[in-house]
């Protein structure tokens, strides 16, 4: 608890004690009244003070003023009518303050616990100075410095491991509980927790450019984006309070007046009392508090899963998504060329790959790289006698004295080699040895292992309109789309055509459209879509700037999760709005009818708030969503 909260608690306890004493001690009525009165002042003085300030500043109709009028009015009635309602008025103030304390405490605790989930800020970096380890502020560490991260510590700056090996806990960043192993040469990002071994890391970025800073900036700036429902509630509260006040004024004055006119007893007392009770109910606290809290919990819960949503308004949009457009390369596929299959006409596949890799070892072409990577072993360049590269076709090399041809179909035809064509729509590399066809190596852009599940998850949620956009060949795109279960694949698109496709989908869609991409060229589409989702965490700056939601991991499954989290959050928000409104309106009717007294009114108010806050916190629970 904060100091203010502790003081309020003390005041509440003292007042409660005084009130109980005044109700139970067998002393003169005057003393009872005095005890209760002191209790009232103890617990309510700041409300009265704020009410007075409000009147002076011409801002009368706030809850302080209402409570002050309601309770003082009730006390006045009780004094004039010599009824026990005096104690009730005091109890009302007491209860109201209990409600305020609970609201303050619940908000404070929620805010702290949610914020701590998103708190990945490292406080220091370890620097080796003259053989001793010293703690430094991460902002002061220059790029290229070697820092040490001990087990249990958080990596403060993005860098590359130069010594040591360990497992990293990425939970705070991505929500993945599986530790990531790192060895010398691996890049590591700030915010991850070093688990097992001491790591020496050479920083690749400055602290302000590291993942941690960028994520924290995203989280901070999400504070400026309010949801439509939040704005609606604020506007509503502004209208609701004066409306109920006027209503209660009418009840206090009009109805007795009508009574007099038609010849009944005015019954001022009863009606004023009812009016005062309504004033108590007119406080929209529960509503105004629980809605932002729900969104805050939603944002925090998503953050825990490695989904950074840039504002509450995007949660609203995400929940309404009924069409998703995926960019292919880098989003659904890994974006790098890899050897996917080796078809051999007889020779061991390993050998086939070896010849191809050696022949291409001098080339920097991505296909060459993929061959070298797939081969995996060191290449002894001495085995190469001669090397002749034909651009766009292939390589002819003498390896171990043998004549090796590595290239495409056209290249092979030139030398009169007959090959069995691999599936024609992937990049195929054919290999021949001394004029004999050896086989074919298929190189493709590998589909991410989670892509199929990602699409299935979206379909399960009822999102049928899924489109894949790519600049690739039609056959490649169609095959991938079929494998993943995507119904619409638009291929051979130039960048501006991708935008046009997106525009079409936007026009036709009833709900919101999401675009998922990762590269620099995706930025326009990310901005144009209703929701732009950038993949790959803190990789591509342009994409992150343009996007509304950032997925920390390259995992397309998180798209479905982001939508589900948002839907759950919106459900909670709607539940709270409906519940609070219902109780409030019911209370007003009951109060006007004289069925509810002030006790009940305040009780209902506090009760609604408790329930609304507890419900709001449910948005935090995103693990199983």
């Amino acid at each position: 608890m904060t100091k203010k909260q502790k003081r309020l608690l003390a005041r509440i306890l003292v007042a409660a004690a005084l009130l109980t004493l005044s109700m139970t001690l067998p002393v003169a009525a005057i003393i009872k009244a005095a005890l209760a009165g002191i209790g009232y002042v103890v617990v309510g003085y700041d409300i009265l003070k704020k009410a007075a300030i409000g009147i002076i500043n011409m801002r009368a109709l706030d809850e302080n003023f209402l409570m002050a009028v309601a309770t003082i009015g009730a006390i006045a009635i009780a004094v004039f009518q010599k009824s026990g309602d005096f104690f009730e008025a005091v109890a009302v103030m007491l209860f109201y303050q209990i409600g305020e304390l609970f609201q303050s405490y619940a908000t404070y605790k929620s805010r702290k616990s949610i914020a701590s989930l998103m708190d990945i800020r490292p406080d220091y970096a370890n620097l080796l100075v003259d053989g001793k380890m010293e703690k430094r502020s991460p902002e002061t560490i220059e790029v290229g410095t070697e820092i040490i991260v001990c087990p249990g510590e958080r990596i403060p700056i993005d860098g590359i491991v130069t010594d040591g090996f360990s497992d990293l806990d990425m939970t705070a960043l991505t929500g993945e509980s599986l530790p990531k192993s790192v060895v010398v040469g691996d890049e590591v990002i700030s915010g991850s927790i070093n688990m097992t071994g001491v790591l020496t890391i050479k920083t690749l970025k400055a602290f302000n450019d590291s993942a941690v800073s960028r994520i924290l900036k995203l989280v901070e700036s999400s504070a400026a984006h309010k949801a439509k429902s939040e704005r609606f509630i604020s506007k509503f509260a502004k209208v609701y309070t004066p409306a109920v006040c006027i209503l209660s004024l009418m009840i206090a004055v009009l109805i007795p007046a009508i009574n007099i006119i038609i010849g009944n007893a005015a019954n001022f007392g009863a009606w004023i009392y009812r009016a005062l009770t309504m004033l108590v109910i007119s406080c929209p606290c529960a509503l105004v508090l629980s809605i932002p809290l729900s969104f805050f919990a939603g944002l925090g819960g998503a953050g825990r899963e490695g989904i950074l949503i840039k504002g509450a308004n995007y949660i609203e949009s995400l929940a309404k998504i009924d069409a998703v457009v995926f960019d292919k390369t880098g989003t659904l596929t890994k974006g790098s060329f890899e050897v996917s299959k080796v078809y051999s006409a007889g020779l061991e596949k390993e050998k086939l790959l070896e010849y191809a890799a050696i022949a291409e070892s001098a080339s920097s072409h991505p296909i060459a790289k993929s061959l070298i990577n797939a081969f995996g072993k060191d290449i002894d360049r001495n085995r190469i006698g001669s090397l002749e590269e034909s651009a766009g076709e292939g390589v002819r090399a003498s390896i171990d004295g043998k004549d090796v041809l590595v290239g495409n179909e056209r290249f092979m035809q030139r030398f009169g080699i007959l090959c069995e064509p691999c599936e024609s729509f992937k990049a195929s590399v054919y290999v021949a040895l001394d004029g004999v066809y050896l086989g074919c190596i298929e190189i493709s852009d590998t589909i991410k292992s989670e892509s199929k599940a990602a699409i299935a998850a979206l379909k399960r949620m009822g999102i049928k309109n899924i489109t894949m956009l790519t600049g690739d060949k039609k056959e490649v795109a169609d095959k991938i789309a079929k494998e993943l279960g995507i119904d619409h694949a638009l291929s051979e698109l130039l960048p501006h055509q991708k935008m046009e496709c997106l525009e079409e989908i936007l026009k036709e869609s009833l709900g919101r459209v999401a675009f998922v991409g990762d590269g620099i060229n995706d930025a326009p589409s990310l901005m144009r879509a209703d929701i732009g989702i950038a993949m790959g965490g803190v990789g591509s700056d342009a994409a992150i700037e343009a996007a509304d939601t950032v997925l920390m991991e390259d995992n397309p499954l998180k798209v479905a999760k982001a939508i589900r989290i948002s839907q759950k959050c919106m459900k909670i928000v709607k539940q709270n709005i409906v519940f609070a409104l219902f109780i409030k309106i019911a209370s007003i009717i009951l109060a006007a009818a004289g069925i509810a007294d002030m006790w009940l009114a305040v009780f209902a108010d506090v009760g609604v708030m408790v329930i609304a806050v507890l419900n709001a916190i449910r948005a935090l629970d995103t693990k199983k969503v």
């Binding site: 704020k50 500043n57 901070e220 606290c285 105004v288 805050f296």
Partner: protein
């Protein structure tokens, strides 16, 4: 020019009042108060000194919500 300030405000309604009040202050192009984050994001009009504007914002906010604080 846009700045983010740490604020202290106890109730959600008061936060809304602060936001309304801040938006009426001269030199403030747009102000957003986020109660949950306890942050106020202020976009300033051209030609106004943020420090001066914020002093006025704080004064105005204190009038509507005496308990509020803005870390300038």
């Amino acid at each position: 020019m846009e700045n983010t300030y740490k604020i202290e405000v106890d109730c959600a309604n008061c936060a809304n009042l602060m936001e309304e009040t801040a938006n009426k202050v001269e030199g403030v192009k747009m102000a957003t108060v986020n109660f949950m984050f306890q942050k106020m994001v202020v976009e300033f009009e051209e030609g106004f000194e943020p420090k001066d504007v914020m002093k006025k914002v704080l004064k105005a906010c204190k009038k509507v919500e005496p308990d509020c604080e803005i870390e300038l």
